[in-house]
Amino acid sequence: MSDDHVYLSLAEGHDDSDARWAFGTGFEDPLYGVDTAVPEGLDAAALAADCLALGDDALVLAQRLAEWVTRAPELEEEVALANIGLDLLGQARLLYSRAGQTDGTGRTEDAYAYFRDAADFRNVRLAELPNGDFAFSVLRLLVFASWRLAHFTELASAPDPVLAAIAAKGVKELAYHRQYAAEWVVRLGDGTAESHARMLTALEAQAPYWEELFAAHDVREAVLADLRQVLDAAGLPMPAVPPLPGQGRGGGHTDHLAPLLAELQSVARAHPEATW
């Protein structure tokens, strides 16, 4: 350890023999030491595309959740949103690593996160919408977690053992995320006139993006059952608004994704060889 420059000493020994806390790029492969063979007869390209899309959903929403840090209404909520974002970031890292092993390019997680443009991202548009107010953010989190939880529950028996294991682990985390968001939606919907009105506004604004979720993964019944249960308890109506055409899964995004990525990717692109 050198004392003269704190960042130098942090960066020392940034290799396998003496890994310290990681800060930005150059993380170790999160699938390090996992048996990464693709089972015989499995369509590796399709598997890679699935992993990439699910990784993009998680990375983009993790970034939105991180934007709440220093801005949340209370410290407890800030810690909660940051923790949920960290879980999603962990899922994204595992999924990107799996994509890199199966799409034939051997790319690392950093290559997917930092060196693709908005049109190459496959996340659903719901994940990229700006945070809005706290009501908007917890409603989005509820729908996202419910949808991902239902899909991951199915994926836990996917034919690819690595994806199945990532999903099985994610199920436990997503159940916590959904619970947190559900309790807040009930509290705000069933709260003051102001909080109720804000939940109504959030519902009207987000419902047009729900159809896209079900087109990507057909878990409509499970998600609507969760939503009905929460909205009933919150005294909120199920919104009836027509879906907005378009598919983030096909690379069609709102104008909000590019600025989000610009911030996420700026340092890595300015210093492409750096690890920190």
Binding site: E76, V171, E173
Partner: protein, 171 residues
């Protein structure tokens, strides 16, 4: 054969003593993240580790810790495997680990919910969870936040002695 057996036992013992980076009062064995230690025919020591949470930033630190201690103990070839399946559960924290947590003012986890495979039901009724205050033993406690400084813990407070404390979440 005898040497191999002795090596396994010695390697296992060394790996079991490595402290967890986030809960340093626990060893990796106490936490239940060290799943197995074996020795390959060519003498390579293989340690199986499992992450607590997908986003756990301590995994690289754990891997490096186990590898370094084994190398220091004279094992020339060391391989660390990440095991994702079955996923970690707080039920794997050993009785010794639970005792150490409580001793350090952190309430150990209750039993994780037994869930059959299939959809996870959403329960909006108030959670009935008894968590004993690690300081005074009172059962009059309440959750203040489901999330805390690390993914694996929640924030609670004791209504008897008024002290806040952390609780390792059951998962």
């Amino acid at each position: 054969m005898v040497t191999v057996l002795t090596d396994v036992r010695r390697a296992r013992h060394i790996a079991e003593q490595v402290p967890d980076p986030e809960l340093p009062m626990l060893t990796l064995a106490d936490l239940g993240v060290l799943r197995d230690v074996t020795v390959e025919p060519d003498g390579t020591v293989v340690a199986d580790l499992t992450p607590t949470y997908s986003g756990c930033p301590a995994m690289a630190e754990m891997r490096a810790g186990v590898a370094a201690r084994l190398r220091d103990a004279g094992f020339g070839r060391v391989a660390i495997r990440t095991v994702l399946d079955p996923p970690w559960t707080s039920d794997w924290i050993t009785p010794e680990g639970r005792r150490k947590l409580a001793e350090h003012g952190i309430a150990p986890p209750n039993r994780a919910p037994r869930r059959p495979a299939g959809p996870v039901p959403l329960d909006l009724s108030p959670t009935r969870r008894t968590v004993l205050c690690p300081r005074c033993g009172s059962a009059a406690t309440e959750e203040t936040s489901r999330f805390a400084a690390t993914s694996c813990k929640a924030l609670w407070r004791c209504l008897s002695c008024q002290e806040p404390f952390e609780y390792v979440k059951e998962i």
